[in-house]
């Protein structure tokens, strides 16, 4: 499976450096290495979800308790979380750090991913959520640190889109 181990390592190290101590996740192909790293890390609380929207509540609870968290999900999981994002994270000013694998964009071969790919960025813009597309491993450490900083200062959700260029090697 040509999911980039190197990029996954760089992303995971940047999350740790940003003080993330709880990760909620729902498995998807591009995220397998990241989820395994969280699973193998005794310093990280990994919560495997049934549906991504649960992660909004879990992250909000962690934030209230002073624990930094991140959500790992596919863009279709982001779509499945919209009400939680709107009527919890945005309504209650929760700094929700979302790492979203950006399926269905340029280069996508799975037909079922394509519709979600085309609406991901328009939806983030409609919700007023700041986001950045991560395309190279070199840019990851600084962008994740910046995303965490903006999240904390604005008390708002921030999204990092994990693109094919970053996550897939073939």
């Amino acid at each position: 499976m040509p999911v980039s181990v190197n990029s996954s390592k760089v992303i995971y190290a940047a999350l740790k450096a940003a003080g993330i101590r709880l990760v909620s996740a729902l498995p998807e192909t591009w995220l397998v290495h990241l989820i395994r790293m969280a699973e193998d890390d005794p310093e990280m609380i990994l919560v495997r979800l049934a549906k991504e929207e649960e992660g909004v509540g879990i992250s909000a609870g962690a934030h209230f308790a002073g624990v930094r968290s991140a959500m790992l999900m596919q863009n279709h999981g982001f779509l499945a979380s919209i009400n939680g994002i709107v009527s919890f994270a945005l309504l209650y000013r929760i700094p929700l750090l979302m790492l979203i694998s950006y399926r269905g964009s340029f280069g996508e071969r799975d037909p079922w991913q394509t519709q979600g790919g085309s609406v991901t960025e328009p939806l983030l813009r409609a919700l007023g959520i700041s986001y950045f597309c991560l395309q190279t491993a070199e840019s990851v450490p600084v962008r994740i640190a910046q995303a965490q900083a903006l999240c904390s200062s604005s008390l708002q959700p921030v999204a990092l889109l994990l693109t094919r260029d970053l996550m897939w090697e073939e």
């Binding site: 609380i45 929207e53 909004v56 509540g57 609870g61 962690a62 308790a65 309504l91």
Partner: protein, 189 residues
């Protein structure tokens, strides 16, 4: 059995816990008994009160977290039972007030009115301990058992579809949220 009587009967225990409620009648009734900084009322995002309680319970293992949920809310997030059971926080008590109704939006019957059994769903999802209470005494006993066991428990309280006269209070959402967060963080010092 009235939900307000149930909440009143455990209110003194709730003073020592971290409490997360759903929106609507549950939030208004708890608040009518006296707001405290350790109470958070999730006034929207139906289904996520239990997820919020789970996030707090995992982050603050030394605190006892009580979630006051409802049938309409938990039916929107049944996966929460499997996630709670999977991580089994010993410090989380999940109370579901089941009035078989979406009371706050006009009293439309939920699926529990036609036989869906939330305690059985919780049990089948792996929640280690469950109880159904139909009287206030049973309810108080179940809650005390949950505190004594120090384990994850789901208690389904079958209550009348009766709500408070007023749902809106003068506590703003953000005031509640920041006060609650400040309280939780102060428990770590």
């Amino acid at each position: 059995m009235l939900r307000l009587d149930c909440i009143r009967s455990i209110y003194s225990q709730l003073e020592k816990c971290v409490v997360v409620t759903i929106m609507g009648a549950v939030a208004a009734e708890l608040q009518s008994l006296g707001h405290r900084p350790n109470f958070f009322y999730l006034q929207h995002a139906m289904g996520l009160a239990s997820s919020t309680g789970l996030g707090i319970a995992l982050s603050l293992p030394e605190q006892t977290v009580v979630v006051l949920d409802g049938d309409g809310s938990v039916l929107m997030n049944l996966g929460t039972f499997s996630t709670m059971a999977r991580y089994r926080p010993r410090n989380l008590v999940h109370i579901v007030f089941d009035n078989e109704s979406l009371l706050s939006v006009g009293g439309f019957p939920t699926a529990t009115s036609t036989g869906t059994d939330l305690a059985q769903i919780a049990k089948a999802a792996g929640v280690p301990s469950t109880a159904v209470a139909t009287t206030c005494d049973d309810f108080v006993q179940a809650v005390h058992a949950a505190f004594a066991a120090r384990d994850l428990m789901t208690i389904v309280a079958k209550v009348e579809a009766e709500g408070p006269a007023r749902y809106v209070t003068d506590l703003t959402l953000l005031e509640n949220r920041f006060e609650f967060s400040r309280y939780l963080r102060s428990t770590k010092k």
